[in-house]
Symmetry: C2
Subunit: 478 residues, 2 copies
Amino acid sequence: MSRLLAELGAIVGPEGCLSRDEELFAYECDGLTLHTARPSAVVFPRAREQVQAIVRCCRSHGVPFVARGAGTGLSGGAIALGGGVVVECSRMNRVLAIEPVDRFAVVEPGVVNQDLSRAAAPFGLFYAPDPSSQLVCTIGGNVAENSGGPHTLKYGTTANHVLGLELVLPDGEVVELGGPTGAAPGYDLVGAVVGSEGTLGIVTRATLRLSPIPERVETLLAIFSDVVSACRTVSGIIEAGLVPAALEIVDQRTIRAVEASVYAAGLPTDAGAVLLIELDGPAVALPPQIERIRRLAQGAGALRIEVARDAKERQRFWRARKGAFGAMGRLAPDLYVHDAVVPRARLPEVLAAVCAIGDRYGLRLSNVFHAGDGNLHPNISFDRRDPGELERVMEAGAEILRACVEAGGVISGEHGIGSEKREYMGLVFSDADLGAMLRLRGAFDPDGVCNPGKIFPTTRFCAESNPKARGYDRVPFA
Amino acid sequence: MSRLLAELGAIVGPEGCLSRDEELFAYECDGLTLHTARPSAVVFPRAREQVQAIVRCCRSHGVPFVARGAGTGLSGGAIALGGGVVVECSRMNRVLAIEPVDRFAVVEPGVVNQDLSRAAAPFGLFYAPDPSSQLVCTIGGNVAENSGGPHTLKYGTTANHVLGLELVLPDGEVVELGGPTGAAPGYDLVGAVVGSEGTLGIVTRATLRLSPIPERVETLLAIFSDVVSACRTVSGIIEAGLVPAALEIVDQRTIRAVEASVYAAGLPTDAGAVLLIELDGPAVALPPQIERIRRLAQGAGALRIEVARDAKERQRFWRARKGAFGAMGRLAPDLYVHDAVVPRARLPEVLAAVCAIGDRYGLRLSNVFHAGDGNLHPNISFDRRDPGELERVMEAGAEILRACVEAGGVISGEHGIGSEKREYMGLVFSDADLGAMLRLRGAFDPDGVCNPGKIFPTTRFCAESNPKARGYDRVPFA
């Protein structure tokens, strides 16, 4: 180990390598605090060549490695299961180019999501994917997790905005995938790498699509006596052929938590649900859309519909949505933010099932969700010190995932699988489906040293499909 | 061979299997008539189980197989190089489901592109990718080639509209990739399969995103004295933050060919170029966009700008664009339709270079192109019976590709690599980049029996990277 540390120190300089226990503590978990694993070392490369040297060094020592951005991920994707080297990319944070005519940017992986939009703004452009953590999360992590956000409905996830990647493969080779024109002959490995949760290599550069800043944004807040009517409005809007930028629902339990917190947005606590609708586009196009949505919401039983008069009011509307996690987090020491997707048409029944599951386990569960995408986020506030509470949270979580899958959904919308949900992959995928993914993994990381223990279940199945795989299936976590 | 034929006949029925020379003739080439190869047999499966049985049968006989749709591809992707079984999917042509609330369709691979939009129309929806061959080409082929079309600028290519695939792998295993919610945990193999030109398996079912039919469409035709001004207008429109549905340029040589043909659209034959601009969206949003574009075009030197008054006039405008291939094809017995992409900002210089190359080789070369995407289509009319003409066409084509790559572009925008451009992959990709693709191929088709001889160059490099590969690099074509 000391030789490994000496070699890593020689690559990144002594100030770029942490190895003392008190330094490593901060890298034991990411946004999923339930899963922890202490790395052997954390290194901070400044350039592709250093990433390449780190990967080669780790391999020569037979030590796994894990790329990490800001550590805001919610599925335990950025922890070094079983120990290993964390490659922290925050020092690779330069915006290398912005091309306004061809509308793309070239960035290093440590660039903070919102900083890219800020850099593009003078050209009338922005970077569309907007995960809730966009003030701190980095492009490298967004690429790894294929991050979405409230505006995924109109703009798509990260995958829709990555044109090219420079990647250090698990054997230290550097490849360039895709490119600025967006057209890429041969296999689309960009698509395969986006969302691969850091298991196929380490991204050292990304070419990203920039979008024109819309001329006008309008934000509406519709208040309903029950969540079913809010869902019906969402379906009505989609069926009418409208494409809002965002359609977000906050349920009654969340409203009450928010209104009792510092995030209070003046919402009626007896409301059953609020629906936040954001429209963007040419200024003249929005008033008729607002009118159609108003009629659709009224037809579905909306009690009240407000249109934000200015930026301040828009912020107040969004506060109810964006403060949900914070408000729920204040109710108890621990918060579990779930993530699953169901077909939009099945939202009302699945929500009822999710609430019933929470009640059955006696848990404080509330829902905020990207309704337009059918992307649910049930939040559970709890205290792991209470005997049996953590077990009930985990069992309820498993039941929620099962309910979503039974409704035709999947077990993750934007948080990824990581260490959190690897045992649930069998709910959605057959052995053959998982086997196809493992073929890809085996082709790039035959020894299983690149972020091992993530995505794939720890079943006999995996060991059998990949006799050569060392790391996939035997890595424990605390 | 006769045992193979007997087994194939048992799978698909005798009327579903062609093997006589005069029957196979029609399957010797696809839209790229320069490359020919006669298959050993052509089979017409009706269901996934039959595709699976065909694949297993071919493997057991050590015979390669090639999926084929309507055969409209332009890069030789659907021919059986070195002989082999063509799996013709036209009988698998059912639209299995259309889901208006969740906006997706489930189809078999033999569904004709335009038939899907027709089936979706009663729900106010359409399937956005619109290759020029959409009246006959099929979804399976569109998926294989990641087909684009004139409206790629706004709507993206096929990859942006495929949510899920059912695939028979080269070993006969069936996997389901992705799904209707569009969210797919684990690796995005859908993205890797779209555009893989039939080399990773045979698609037996596709789940496709449907889009709302826009409320209004407006089509403009701007006439310029030279192509540089038309390109400058395109850049200006993009820089202004406008997102037209299509931005197509037809150059002077094409205008003259069109006006001298049955496709005549009343264009001035002394014009240097015409720019076709299509806008779609909410009705009220379009007039201000038309005004902005009019000012931009006038500022760039447009001689005249017309707005189509009705559907008939819109068709006339498009005739100049859509008739280009036909008109050029009538000038000589052979037509070579090229395909390459350059960054939009580099269009004027690359066009000049392309025309100079054509002139230097004494060829009849004209350009129509998806200017908004930087996707060039130089067309060369020629007669392969003239001594030396074919060689000049091929040499000019190579020079054109090199010029595009030197300008930061790539060697294919939407036609794929196929057998046509495999030797040019080295212009865009390093050995490491190609090696990464071959790792994927090797993981799914280690013996190289699934559409062999396509995409990858026949160099020593490939044989070395894949010692097990039998078919990739040694397959000749006529």
